[in-house]
């Protein structure tokens, strides 16, 4: 019992450490990608090719002045960043990062725990993340923050519907909410060369993936759906008043949510850690998973630096009048197809 608890604690610590480092380097990657797209060099002074920039940023965040506005609702203001970052961290334990590796004579699965409700658990936690944003917006006692928080909650709940309905079509094929089971169901190939990934179940799987991806961009508040932050109209939205590490915690939560969204997208539609040679060399599975997640994150960044922001009424119209009906039609079509071919 103690042995198992210790094992979990170590696995969780390693996952958390790896993910926090990944978050730091994602901010770096975002700045580099942005500068390449805008024909600039980007951060290149701190360390070779600017690789130590995230560490410098972290140090700077710690030593900045921590401001609590006089009119803010003090306690809510202080706990809001924690409320936003804790659910973002908690959803990491069910994601299957790889198959399993053999280390020191034991078999270690590359996921912390396997739950038969894994997907529901992730969705429950991502929904909880809204509370942090709303609390931050309201407790700052700033008009911009309040608008940012309200917009964010309305946007996140609107797109959560499309997101939740887009995954139902995957459930119809795999019949499981367990992320490990969903990954395993996508191993192998059709006709010997097409991987059995859900995205290749043309056209319905591809369609489901597109709905899922667009909705997940909106869920993680990324451009073109970054209305809650909207630098040019709301200054910075819900974190206008935040400084120092509290601000950094919001950033961390945002990037962790991006990683979670990309990981769930990979697991559900891109075959998770499946790929050639996984049975012979299990560590490859981790490599495949990271590559697929990075591709999804890169596309999100690419979209951010290419597309302009939606207007608010356009955003709501797109979510409710396009994505939601399309997701419902996708479910009906998938179920109808399944009942005829099986």
């Amino acid at each position: 019992m103690i042995d198992q608890l210790l094992g979990w604690a170590i696995q969780i610590l390693i996952t958390l450490f790896a993910l926090v480092t990944a978050v730091a380097y994602l901010t770096f990657m975002e700045r580099k990608v942005m500068s390449w797209i805008q024909l600039r060099v980007g951060p290149n002074r701190v360390g070779p090719w600017g690789l130590l920039q995230p560490a410098a940023d972290g140090l700077k965040f710690i030593f900045k002045e921590d401001i609590i506005p006089l009119e803010a609702n003090r306690w809510l203001y202080i706990i809001a960043p924690a409320v936003s970052v804790v659910p973002a961290m908690m959803s990491l334990i069910v994601i299957p990062w790889g198959s399993e590796i053999h280390l020191f004579g034991r078999t270690i699965p590359l996921h912390v725990t396997q739950m038969n409700i894994g997907l529901l658990y992730v969705f429950a936690l991502t929904s909880l993340g809204v509370y942090g944003i709303v609390l931050a917006g309201w407790s700052s006692n700033n008009k911009y923050s309040l608008m940012g928080g309200l917009r964010s909650s309305a946007q996140m709940i609107s797109y959560e519907l499309a997101l939740g309905l887009a995954i139902v079509s995957v459930l119809l094929w795999t019949g499981s909410l367990d992320l490990v089971e969903i990954t395993k169901s996508q191993s192998g190939t059709w006709f010997g060369f097409i991987p059995r990934w859900n995205i290749f179940r043309f056209p319905l799987g591809t369609f489901g993936f597109i709905i899922f991806y667009i909705a997940s961009l909106a869920e993680t508040n990324r451009t073109p759906f970054d209305l809650p932050e909207a630098d040019s109209e709301l200054v910075a939205g819900y974190h206008t008043e935040y400084s120092s590490m509290k601000f950094a915690l919001f950033q961390m939560a945002e990037y962790l949510n991006l990683i979670t969204a990309a990981s769930i997208g990979t697991t559900l539609f891109l075959g998770g850690w499946n790929g050639p040679g996984v049975e012979q060399l299990p560590i490859l599975s981790l490599v495949y998973f990271v590559i697929k997640v990075l591709v999804l994150i890169f596309i999100a960044m690419w979209i951010r630096f290419t597309l302009p922001r939606f207007r608010y009424d356009q955003l709501m119209r797109f979510g409710w009048k396009w994505l939601l009906p399309l997701a419902i039609i996708n479910i009906i079509a998938t179920a109808t197809l399944l009942i005829f071919i099986r």
């Binding site: 921590d66 960043p81 725990t113 009906p325 479910i331 009942i339 099986r342």
Partner: protein, 128 residues
Amino acid sequence: MINYVPILIIFIFAVGMATAIIILSRLAGRNRPTREKLMPYECGVEPVGTARERQSVKFYLVAMVFLLFDIEAVFLVPWAVVFPRVLSDPAYRTLKYLFYGEMMLFMVVLFVGLVYVWRKGILEWAAK
């Protein structure tokens, strides 16, 4: 049930980490408050009025419509999980059209609800 224990462990870790970071920045950073620094930020001018004002009722309507649709989405999940088993298991195969038809009926009701909300103008955000 043992598989759910890591939730508790990571909850403790995550809360501990967030608390430590917040306290650390409080201790490590300098602290020289002035009146201007502690005012709500409004692009450098004196704040006008307060942020504790009434908000558009649209936000509440969207929240209520979301609740209705989300409960329906939650109802879809168990159905979708059982669906492949109904199709493959010989014991349930005879029921598959009933199983399929009932949910399609429900989806039609869902769609009619969406059309109703749409026609009522709850989804219109731009002022006419």
